[in-house]
């Protein structure tokens, strides 16, 4: 059977709310409007005003309230309509949630999930297209998850809600409507995927492509086309940005001897940069037959016009040409 990412997220929240009365969700338009992107569809009818809560447009305030509730052992899911707006609340995400367990000497757990669509959508321009994976990934105390498929979305969101740490859960609007095949066990009420483990989406021998979220989709498309050209790509879906699954990355590169990273965010101090650093710091470095190539969002604010937007985001063609370069096919 198949499932959309939207349904995967919705069912994950539903499951966890059914399972644990301490789980609740709050955010702008999550209740009566059913979510700006309909991720919370049907939940307000089912769980009522107490547990599905529409907030005013006050990110700093409601994120703070959610974190305070988590200090008191509730398990909030705090939806940002998009992660762009999380900047108004980012002080709370870092300083109130991320650092709390450490600076209290382990006295306060903060079991909260911050979730919502992250990164570029389509035609929404500079202020609504930022990818926060590198920013949140930079910060110890947070776990940072970025699902790609419906299985990822469901398994990781359920794990995130049950996790006792603050988890930043970066979704992607362009993936919400995408349909994925899922196996029966994914529908299990207790199905979870481990946070901190990457997944090899496609095995290959010639080059490793490391990506997350929507980048995985593009990487798989590129891998398909490259296969026809005789290049066998191993595609790693990071799933988790922090803690990064160094092992899976390193072992794959030791096998393929080549690596290309793919992300939609900006390049400088991005995810690809960190993967490059992991390579320097591991045995994989000695196995490299070519320097790492990064495929990233262009280093500009997101333009509105469609032709420029396309150019600003990594396309299959960018991945293919980067792979060809690291394979010395070009």
């Amino acid at each position: 059977t198949t499932m959309t990412v939207r349904d995967a997220l919705n069912s994950a929240i539903d499951d966890e709310m059914a399972r644990d009365g301490d789980v609740f969700i709050l955010g702008e338009e999550v209740a009566q409007y059913q979510g700006a992107y309909k991720i919370t569809k049907g939940l307000w009818e089912k769980y009522g005003d107490k547990r599905v809560i529409d907030t005013p447009i006050t990110e700093a305030g409601f994120a703070g309230i959610a974190i305070g509730a988590a200090f008191h052992k509730l398990r909030p899911i705090c939806e940002f309509m998009t992660f762009n707006f999380s900047m108004q609340a980012i002080d709370h995400i870092l300083n109130s949630a991320g650092k709390m367990y450490y600076m209290s000497g382990g006295q306060f757990k903060v079991p909260i999930v911050f979730r919502g669509p992250n990164g570029a959508a389509a035609g929404v321009a500079a202020q609504h297209s930022q990818c926060f994976a590198a920013w949140f990934g930079h910060c110890p105390g947070l776990k940072v998850v970025a699902p790609y498929s419906a299985e990822d979305a469901r398994g990781l969101l359920k794990a995130a809600i049950r996790d006792d740490n603050p988890v930043v859960f970066l979704e992607n609007e362009m993936l919400y409507g995408m349909e994925f095949p899922i196996s029966a066990d994914v529908l299990d009420k207790d199905f979870m995927l481990p946070i901190g483990k990457a997944k090899i989406e496609r095995e290959g021998t010639d080059v490793t492509i490391v990506s997350y979220s929507r980048g995985v989709h593009k990487a798989l498309e590129a891998a398909e086309e490259l296969a026809a050209q005789g290049v066998s790509c191993e595609v790693i879906n990071l799933r988790t940005i922090r803690p990064l699954d160094r092992g899976t990355i390193v072992k794959s590169i030791m096998k393929t001897n080549r690596v290309v990273t793919v992300e939609e965010g900006w390049p400088q101090s991005g995810i690809g940069a960190e993967i490059g650093a992991v390579v320097y710091e591991s045995e994989a470095f000695d196995y490299l037959d070519a320097p790492l190539e990064r495929v990233t969002g262009a280093d500009v604010p997101m333009p509105y016009a469609e032709n420029l937007e396309t150019l600003a985001l990594p396309q299959k063609s960018n991945i293919i040409s980067a792979v060809q370069r690291v394979c010395y096919r070009k």
């Binding site: 009566q32 447009i57 016009a305």
Partner: protein, 369 residues
């Protein structure tokens, strides 16, 4: 005849910590026809955008202003372009009232090189720097302190300008409004905080988002007025009153414009789940700002039905022409991607593309460099 004064009554203002402006507004045929033309143009322009969105010529977010035209036009009627305006994403009509053309606005909406932001901004990011329109902002609340900053500059320079920051009933709950108001009052900034209360922030009725729905009293220590935002004359009167107070050095002022948005929040919102169609059509019947102004024109014999019809026909045609012109305009050249990241950016500045090979500018480690 065009300049003969006519007195028209508007509904009384609700006041907070100040006297009320007069409810008698003195205007004339030329002004009133001008307002009508602007408002009608705006209405048609937004309907044009609606159609373009539905035919997929416009993408992404698109927030329409129909229903609220009297606020924009009434405000502009009381100001000059030496005064500053900043608003949120529902900005097409402000762009127009600050001197831009429908063609340029449509071009921006369709992401054309000829758009007011070269196609790089889109619906939410229109600007008219030369006439002191500061946009267009996609972040709810950001324009509130930014507007206070515009006022800061007017005061710093002593140029007599007043800044107007427009925000919705939803945005009124943002903490940065509270912070901005505090500094505006402490520093006596010539800023008018204008809440366009269209009754909803997305799908949230104001009483669900705001413990205090008297937006004109939200300044607490700042005087305010509640205004019939469906009446261009009431808005003009209130804005003139507020601007005068600011110019006289009294510091900030608050205006609440009681208005309504006909469209859904954005083009992706049908706008009928959180309010019934009856409510919308009721407002259209009873309070439509464009119809209301037309009725005033007729009632006060400031225009004949034929004149109005002619104006409408002409405007509609102009709008069609503008749409067609904009449709034919070219997309921005791909080289635009790498322009305007920085001001005074050297032409060969290295800017990374989606992969290294597609980058712009020169890599300065090239041997011998």
């Amino acid at each position: 005849k065009a300049r003969v004064p006519v007195s028209i009554e508007v509904v009384p203002f609700e006041t907070y910590m100040c006297e009320a402006p007069s409810t008698t507004v003195v205007t004339n045929r030329a002004e009133m026809l001008g307002y009508y033309e602007q408002m009608y143009t705006m209405r048609r322009m937004e309907l044009g955008a609606d159609a373009l969105y539905k035919s997929k010529h416009i993408r992404g977010f698109c927030h329409l202003y129909d229903g609220q035209e009297a606020v924009c036009v009434g405000m502009e009627a009381a100001l000059t372009w030496k005064d500053s305006i900043i608003t949120a994403y529902r900005d097409h009509c402000y762009q127009l009232s600050r001197g831009d053309t429908p063609a340029t606005i449509f071009a921006e909406l369709m992401g054309r090189a000829t758009g007011c932001a070269k196609g790089k901004g889109g619906s939410m990011h229109m600007y008219m720097a030369k006439n002191n329109f500061f946009g267009g902002n996609g972040i709810v609340g950001a324009q509130q302190p930014l507007g206070a900053g515009l006022a800061f500059a007017h005061l710093y320079r002593g140029d007599g300008g007043v800044a107007f920051a427009l925000y919705g009933d939803g945005a009124a709950n943002q903490g940065q409004l509270f912070e901005g108001m505090n500094m505006a009052a402490l520093w006596k900034l010539p800023i008018v905080f204008v809440c366009e209360n269209n009754q909803y922030g997305m799908g949230t009725a104001k009483a669900r988002s705001s413990a205090n729905t008297d937006y004109y009293k939200r300044g607490v220590y700042i005087a305010g007025l509640k205004v019939d935002g469906m009446s261009v004359l009431a808005v003009r009167q209130a804005v003139a009153f507020a601007a005068d107070r600011c110019r006289a050095g009294n510091g900030p002022f608050v205006l609440e414009m009681d208005t309504y948005r006909y469209h859904g929040h954005s083009m992706s919102d049908p706008g009928v789940t959180y309010r019934d169609r009856e409510e919308v059509s009721g407002v259209r019947r009873a309070r439509d700002p464009v119809e209301g102004l037309k009725n005033l024109l007729l009632k006060h014999n400031l225009a004949t039905p034929e004149e109005i019809k002619a104006l409408e026909t002409r405007t509609r045609k102009e709008m069609d022409v503008a749409v067609e012109a904009a449709k034919k305009d070219p997309a921005p050249p791909l080289s635009e991607l790498y322009k305007d990241v920085y001001c005074r950016q050297s032409p060969d500045m290295f800017i990374r593309g989606a992969d290294l090979a597609s980058s712009h500018g020169s890599v300065d480690w090239a041997p011998g460099s």
